[in-house]
């Protein structure tokens, strides 16, 4: 009896019931590289796989293994999880699925019945699940948190977090920490009051909530003019990271509302566009670092922060949408460096702490003002990766500027609250995209591979010396992590709006990415 048959028998025999992913396993994810136990692969945000079966020497033979079609239209943004041969993912309209990770055949499927009046700003998207114990966890577009039985997809608990008709929704993958599930809310386009929640994984009871906009009288409320804090936004729509050494959750936040109009909300607008360090047990704020004060360009800081331990320093770094690569001391939130990694025109000086500060000419006007980067940023929520072998940080960038316009807009609950808009630069400027390899210690760009247009793909790096990414035209690509040379590509038929991941079953390494409405996996023949 060969090994594949043995595993097949074990699956039938019920060995996956229940999955039983203890938090200890997630903490030590590096010890089981065949699994992908959390959104970024590990709790530090590296999106790095220590699997090296697929490597620079053989990647040219990589071939499609199976494709799972969700049947859903809309942006397919999931990063799947894999536990012991079972792959768990989500798809648009709050679908969830469990597949045989070797064949792509479904074990269970779940689709939420969503009300007709949900208010997702930017598509009916979901970026993935968290797993803990015998359950998987999903946030929904009608702002519920749910636990599903990992074995059956049956709903175990379903808890409304907030009134979705006010513009709230959940789109990111939750983060499992200890015995709880942490989640950030979306809705920065609707003048919501952002928050980050932690739910008891067993019962769904909310353990704590951190409001990303302080109420009047609370610390930070002095950074909001008048009552503008009531509609201040600062959503938290990307998955954060966790540092077991300090028991801190690091979670970034998005734009202040209204996104394109600073008039009426004078001040720094804490804690918008901020990296928050929260105590995992209580949700109490330990420190904060604000990337963009008083943002008027919709430059959410909702990019995955990445924890690095380099040269004896405990760092957290972020390639921010505003075009700067920030290095922060994660023990105290002090800024160490901020270096541009794309085209930036909005800042002409740094403040006393070394933070890039806006020029007078960057503020949007009624007629519109040309500013780089555009509203989509030098990068956006697409995941970066850090490869400890090369010491490099890889991120997809956009070269595109916009004209930012502003106009007064009254707040109306549940309605879009932009304070105007941005449009592509009327000069008919070229735009492009590139995958960059950045030395996080110096900010130096070590290599760059240019694409014809900007991509929304995230990036994975592996111990095989490879970086996986996709272009906007549908190619899924393997690069040499050291040189940036493309070694292999496959045309999937649609640009990716998701990040790749890697896993192994029966000793075979797979690379997976969602594009179009399909989940693709690749392996060596």
């Amino acid at each position: 009896m060969n090994r594949a048959k043995l595993v097949g028998l074990l699956l039938i025999g019920g060995s996956l019931a229940p999955a039983q992913v203890s938090f200890d396993r997630i903490l030590n994810a590096a010890k089981e590289p065949q699994n992908w136990l959390t959104y970024s692969g590990d709790l530090s945000g590296h999106r790095f796989s220590t699997l090296d079966q697929i490597n620079t020497g053989n990647v040219k033979s990589l071939a499609a293994k199976w494709v799972y079609q969700t049947g859903a239209t809309g942006k397919f943004e999931t990063t799947p999880l894999v536990v012991d041969g079972i792959l768990y993912g989500t798809a648009p309209d709050d679908r969830a699925f469990a597949l045989d990770a070797r064949t792509g055949r479904p074990i269970w499927l779940y689709q939420r019945q969503l009300p007709g009046d949900i208010r997702p700003c930017c598509g009916r998207v979901n970026r993935g699940l968290a797993i803990l114990g015998d359950k998987v966890f999903m946030g929904t577009l009608d702002a519920h948190m749910m636990a599903l039985d990992a074995k059956t997809g049956n709903v175990v608990w379903d808890v409304p977090a907030v009134d979705y008709t006010q513009g709230y929704s959940f789109t990111p993958a939750p983060l499992a920490v200890k015995n709880e599930v942490v989640m950030g809310v979306a809705g920065g386009e609707y003048g919501i009051r952002g928050f980050i929640d932690a739910y008891d994984a067993e019962t769904g009871k909310r353990n704590w909530r951190f409001y990303t906009v302080p109420a009047k009288g609370e610390p930070g409320s002095e950074t909001w003019e008048g009552e503008s804090n009531k509609t201040g936004g600062a959503a938290a729509w990307i998955t954060g990271v966790y540092d077991p050494a300090t028991n801190l959750i690091f979670w970034p936040t998005g734009n202040p509302s209204p996104s394109n109009r600073g008039a009426g909300r004078a001040g720094d607008n804490l804690y918008s566009n901020t990296l928050l360090a929260l105590d995992a047990d209580t949700g109490k704020l330990k420190w904060h670092f604000q990337f963009t004060k008083h943002d008027e360009h919709d430059w959410d800081s909702t990019e995955v922060p990445v924890m690095l331990d380099l040269n004896g320093k405990h760092l957290i770094v972020q390639a921010n949408r505003n075009g700067y690569f920030y290095v922060v001391d994660r023990t105290n939130g002090k800024l160490l460096s901020a270096t541009p990694y794309g085209k930036v025109t909005w800042s002409d000086h740094k403040d006393a702490e070394g933070r890039p500060a806006p020029s007078k000419e960057s503020s949007p006007t009624l007629e519109g003002r040309y500013v780089c980067p555009g509203a989509s940023g030098v990068t956006n929520w697409m995941s970066p990766t850090f490869n400890p072998a090369t010491g490099l940080f890889y991120v997809n960038i956009r070269e595109q500027c916009d004209v930012f316009s502003t106009a007064p807009q009254p707040y109306e609950a549940g309605h879009a609250f932009y304070g105007s808009a941005y449009i592509p630069a009327p000069q008919g400027e070229p735009y492009s995209g590139a995958l960059e390899a950045i030395d996080p210690m110096t900010g130096e760009i070590k290599w760059s591979f240019k694409h014809p247009s900007p991509t929304w793909s995230g990036v994975l790096s592996t111990a095989g010396g490879l970086v996986f990414s996709a272009d906007a035209e549908g190619n899924f690509i393997a690069f040499d992590a050291r040189s940036g040379k493309p070694l292999w590509h496959f045309q999937t038929g649609s640009g990716a709006i998701a990040a790749p991941m890697s896993y192994a079953v029966d000793g075979k390494q797979y690379i997976a990415i969602a594009t179009g409405s399909s989940l693709y996996t690749f392996a060596l023949p």
Binding site: R119, S420, A472, I477, Q491, S494, G495, A496
Partner: protein, 270 residues
């Protein structure tokens, strides 16, 4: 009385799908509509509805897909099949309720030029020039006649402002025309000029039909299509200089230009 309540609600719903804009000429609705327009529509149609890189000028009285209140309401709410115009569900912008769509319509009516801008030229003369002395037809098609190297201009007159058509003829490099649009790309392919040298040493210059990180599709002036893999080429260069010649006044007088614009504006898309 649940059935009566339901009947009343149905009447209300039917009322919104009515023939005429219930908010017509309401200045407050026009203001609200301007905000909605900026959020939901300006990305393609420009901040003042004067047309953007890919959406038509909506201040023109004539609109290709219908000018009545009910037609425009339907076009905004449901999108226009076969075009880049999406339904108002938030794929671009944030989506709009029926009331907000009527507000946008009130705004558009408030900025609509009162009488259709009559191009000063002579359309019949313009047609002669298009298919004759100005040689536009060599690269451009109108109503099925003409070349394929440049964009088909059948719908141009009904979707773009006179000023932007004039700009495209006098200064074609200023804003390249948009070509193929793919669902997951942020921008459409533009009419860039590519010059490649093949492995055999053959030089090809043409319009870029489509490009990804590894392949490029080019049409040369003889309308031959080349499907190329970049790593097989000796060289590959792209410029944002259009293959279209810039027609200055020595090549095309203001009068001839006006005639051609008048012709394009007179063409009815089928």
């Amino acid at each position: 009385m649940p059935s009566k309540v339901a009947g009343f609600l149905l009447l209300c719903a039917a009322g919104l799908a009515q023939e005429h804009n219930p908010l017509a000429n309401d200045p407050n609705a026009a203001k609200a509509g301007e905000f909605q327009f900026r959020i939901n529509c300006s990305f393609c149609h420009g901040l003042g509805a004067r047309g953007g890189g890919r959406g038509p000028d909506l201040t023109l009285a004539r609109k290709r897909h219908g000018t009545t209140d009910s037609e425009m309401f339907h076009n905004i709410k449901d999108g226009i099949a076969g075009t880049a115009m999406p339904a108002a569900i938030g794929s671009i912008g944030v989506g709009m309720t029926d009331e907000e769509i009527w507000q946008v319509l009130t705004y558009l009516r408030s900025v609509q030029v009162k009488t259709p801008a009559q191009p000063p030229g002579n359309a019949a003369n313009g047609k002669d020039a298009f298919f004759g002395s100005a040689r536009c037809f060599q690269c451009h098609m109108v109503q099925g006649k003409g070349g394929r190297l440049g964009p088909d201009l059948t719908g141009t007159g009904s979707s773009r402002s006179m000023e932007s058509i004039v700009e495209s003829i006098r200064e074609p490099n200023k804003r390249l025309a948009a070509g193929l649009t793919e669902a997951t790309k942020s921008f459409p392919q533009e009419y860039e000029t590519a010059t490649v040298v093949t492995a055999e040493g053959k030089t090809i210059t043409g319009v870029t039909l489509n490009e990804d990180s590894f392949t490029v599709q080019i049409m040369d002036p003889a309308e031959r299509i080349y499907l190329l893999e970049k790593d097989t080429l000796r060289s590959f260069k792209k410029t944002r200089a259009s293959l279209m010649p810039a027609y200055d006044k020595s090549q095309l007088s203001d009068k001839e230009l006006g005639d051609i614009v008048a012709y394009l504006m007179s063409v009815e898309a089928k």
